[in-house]
């Protein structure tokens, strides 16, 4: 099927709303983020997705053509007006914040985090990417990959997105040249691989003409036999977080009467069934699960994502902020953790300041020490950052007064993520991801002190490869010297 006109659209994967209501969906909604700028045709692409999947109703379309007073030469309204929801944006012609869009096919429904491409894109992209399963990166076929593409891909992968779609847009403007597509998709796959992302789909498309978005572009690109954008999205995976140990951050304790005491929360990882042994963190007390209560039924199992009420087999002290976890696969607890974070507010992140940290249902005080900052243009870490200004991505050390409970973010997104709240403004000032628990070398490590070691190169390399060093690589300064020169340097110190 070729791209249809706006009025005569029909496709196998677009269904009347009735069927959408009647059909059951076998999958959870796929959450995606679109990265790119107005110049890449991002608004046109999202508008096209909504339009061709019939997510735009007639009266909205009428309001659109009334407001814009113009249509493009394909008889379609100006999609940017459909998307820019706030009056300030319409007046100034800019997109200023994260917006969420919804569309569905007969197979699946989709939630799109639509973020601006230019101004403050780091903070807005991080926000949109935090919940996304997949990132669609847009490039203009005429220009190919830009520095911006690298920045967007880097942020998306840092936020834990493992699936990329490269939309090579405006393909009509390069005469549908297969060689152009092959060059750009090859470059992009290399970039993605360098970020550790292996699930990559590149698609040549024209969002304006509706080719390879919802409808295929065979008429103009007979050489392309890959999926359309929507087909790719329909088959993408959502992260379930079901692997790993059971995690239940306790939201509240339910005590409707003397005979019932239940712990309410959303399962943040793993699964549980009655009879399983659990530990309550941070106290470490142990109990067994007696019942999994929900409104509909007493259930015989709960998995990641389920909102449940757990009843335990004995009286234990459990409060909001505690975490109920499987006894044999527990998260990390400790006072010091390594993390990466994105600074979200004009004041940046100040070293030594005591912020509030919220992770799961737990809120506690934390001191943040910046260690290094990511240079987005090169993908390299600059060491010894003093403060992290707004939109900076940094590696930091977190120090708590009371025990904190985390998994590494790449193991569990739910229990590895946190936000920082400024105690003065009460605003959210950072979003962060735990990389590891910090293992202090008891007695040796003191704040601010440094030690010079002279080691044989092979031994040094072996040491640097251990987890302890790997986590603190950015703090270590390595120089290669001859044995004689090393002896000289050390001798001079005396």
């Amino acid at each position: 099927m070729t791209a249809p006109s706006a009025t005569a659209a029909s496709a196998s994967n677009v269904v009347p709303i009735t069927d959408a209501v009647k059909s059951t969906r076998d999958t959870r909604p796929l959450r995606l983020i679109t990265c790119g700028s107005v110049d890449d045709g991002k608004s046109t692409l999202i508008g096209r997705l909504l339009w061709d999947t019939k997510a735009v109703k007639e009266d909205q379309a009428a309001a659109l053509s009334r407001d814009s007073g113009k249509q493009n030469d394909l008889g379609l309204p100006d999609f940017a007006l459909l998307l820019d929801g706030l009056q300030a944006e319409r007046e100034q012609g800019i997109t200023i914040d994260v917006a969420y869009r919804y569309f569905a096919t007969d197979r699946r429904s989709f939630i799109v985090a639509d973020t601006p491409g230019h101004e403050q894109y780091t903070r807005n992209m991080a926000t949109g990417a935090s919940t996304a399963d997949l990132a669609v990166l847009l490039v203009d076929a005429r220009t190919g990959l830009l520095e911006q593409t690298r920045r967007h891909a880097t942020i998306a992968s840092l936020m834990g997105i493992k699936q990329f779609v490269l939309a090579v847009n405006k393909f009509d403007l390069v005469a549908y040249d297969k060689a152009v597509f092959e060059k750009i998709s090859h470059d992009f796959k290399e970039l993605a691989l360098s970020l550790g992302v292996r699930q990559v789909t590149a698609i040549p498309m024209s969002a304006l003409k509706g080719e390879n978005v919802v409808y295929d572009g065979r008429a103009t690109m007979p050489w392309y036999d890959g999926p359309t954008l929507v087909e790719t999205l329909e088959l993408a995976t959502t992260r379930t977080g079901a692997a790993g140990g059971f995690r239940l951050p306790v939201q509240r304790v339910s005590r409707p009467g003397e005979s019932f005491r239940g712990y309410q929360g959303t399962v943040a990882g793993g699964s549980i069934k009655p009879g399983d042994s659990v530990a309550i963190l941070p106290s470490g007390m142990v109990a067994n699960v007696k019942q999994i209560v929900t409104f509909d039924l007493v259930r015989n199992a709960a998995v990641s994502g389920d909102a449940v009420t757990l009843v335990l087999d004995r009286q234990v002290d459990v409060a909001r902020g505690d975490m109920i976890v499987s006894l044999d696969a527990q998260p990390m607890t400790g006072l010091h953790f390594d993390a990466q974070l994105v600074a979200l507010q004009p004041g940046g992140i100040e070293p030594g300041k005591r912020y509030w940290l919220k992770a799961g249902t737990r809120r506690q005080r934390v001191v943040v020490s910046p260690l290094s900052q990511l240079e987005l243009s090169t993908g390299k870490w600059k060491s010894h950052a003093e403060t992290l200004p707004m939109n900076a991505i940094g590696k930091v050390r977190l120090s708590f007064d009371e025990a904190a409970i985390f998994d590494a973010y790449d193991q569990n997104r739910n229990t590895g993520a946190f936000i920082l709240i400024d105690p003065d403004t009460l605003n959210t000032v950072a979003g962060g991801m735990i990389t590891a628990k910090r293992t202090d070398l008891g007695g040796i490590h003191r704040e601010g002190q440094r030690v010079l070691l002279s080691l044989p190169a092979d031994l040094a390399e072996e040491l640097m490869a251990t987890e302890t060093f790997a986590n603190r690589r950015d703090e270590v300064d390595v120089r290669r010297l001859s044995a004689a020169r090393a002896a000289e340097v050390l001798g001079d110190l005396d």
């Binding site: 709303i17 999958t27 300030a88 509240r252 959303t266 929900t294 909102a307 919220k358 249902t361 936000i419």
Partner: protein, 318 residues
Amino acid sequence: MHRHSSEFDPHLKDQAPKPPLDPHLKALENEAIHIFREVAAEFENPVMLYSIGKDSSVLLHLARKAFYPGRVPFPLLHIDTGWKFPEMIAFRDEMAEKFDLDLVVHTNPRGAAEGISPFTHGSAYHTDVMKTEALRQALDAGKYDAAFGGARRDEEASRAKERIYSFRTPDHKWDPRNQRPELWNLYNGMIRRGESVRAFPLSNWTEVDIWRYIQAENIPLPPLYFARPRKFVERDGMLMWAEDPRFQPLPGEQVQEGMLRFRTLGCWPLTGGIRSQATTLDAVIAELEIATVSERQGRAIDRDQAGSMEKKKREGYF
């Protein structure tokens, strides 16, 4: 699987077992329950805005699920403009009694004393006084620090940028340019005294999701959603209900009677009906197929001017 044996499950006794929700609806339900519990735990004095329509009905159902086997731990607030359909009021009171809810009803005393009417004062002024101002009065009087609403991001353009926890100043203002970033499902509930948060558990639901969920969960709805013979007139392209004693036909207007139902519920002079034969939920859903206009089309509030919803929201409307 077995049924509860505790004393806290009266609703199960008269209910046939139903098939489990599909993964899509289950995910939306889980998210909404999470938000309900989080707000109830983090705020001192929450309230749930209850407007009696289908979204409110879904919201109430989710609240009952979230706190089961306990009762809903906050009151429901209904802003009564005095111009609601009588069938809405009857349904509201029936739900409050059936589900053991604390119901607070507020009408703006100033507006009531001045006899504010959408006919004589216009829809914009009526909405401003009897809904927005009334809501501010009720929230101030109750000293609520969090208010649940049933708004969805797919409803209207300015809603697409609304947070799940939407921060409001002490005078209930919304500043769309200065919203708190919201990452993962980690909501920032820290506020100062006098400030408040509007919380939207249905943010990620679409109209289709609402209908599918109502069907799957067998959620009771006000009878206005179903067609029956009703008296109405055609005015400005809208089918206006004409059974209220305050209704005055304009010169040349003919009161007709026919099968009529409503896609959204509000003040009857501002809420147009549609001609329909759909008397059951299945039939209503079947009619969605040919409904190619969005559900807000029947609402006068959105047609006043572009950006009118954003303007109302800035002033404290939900």
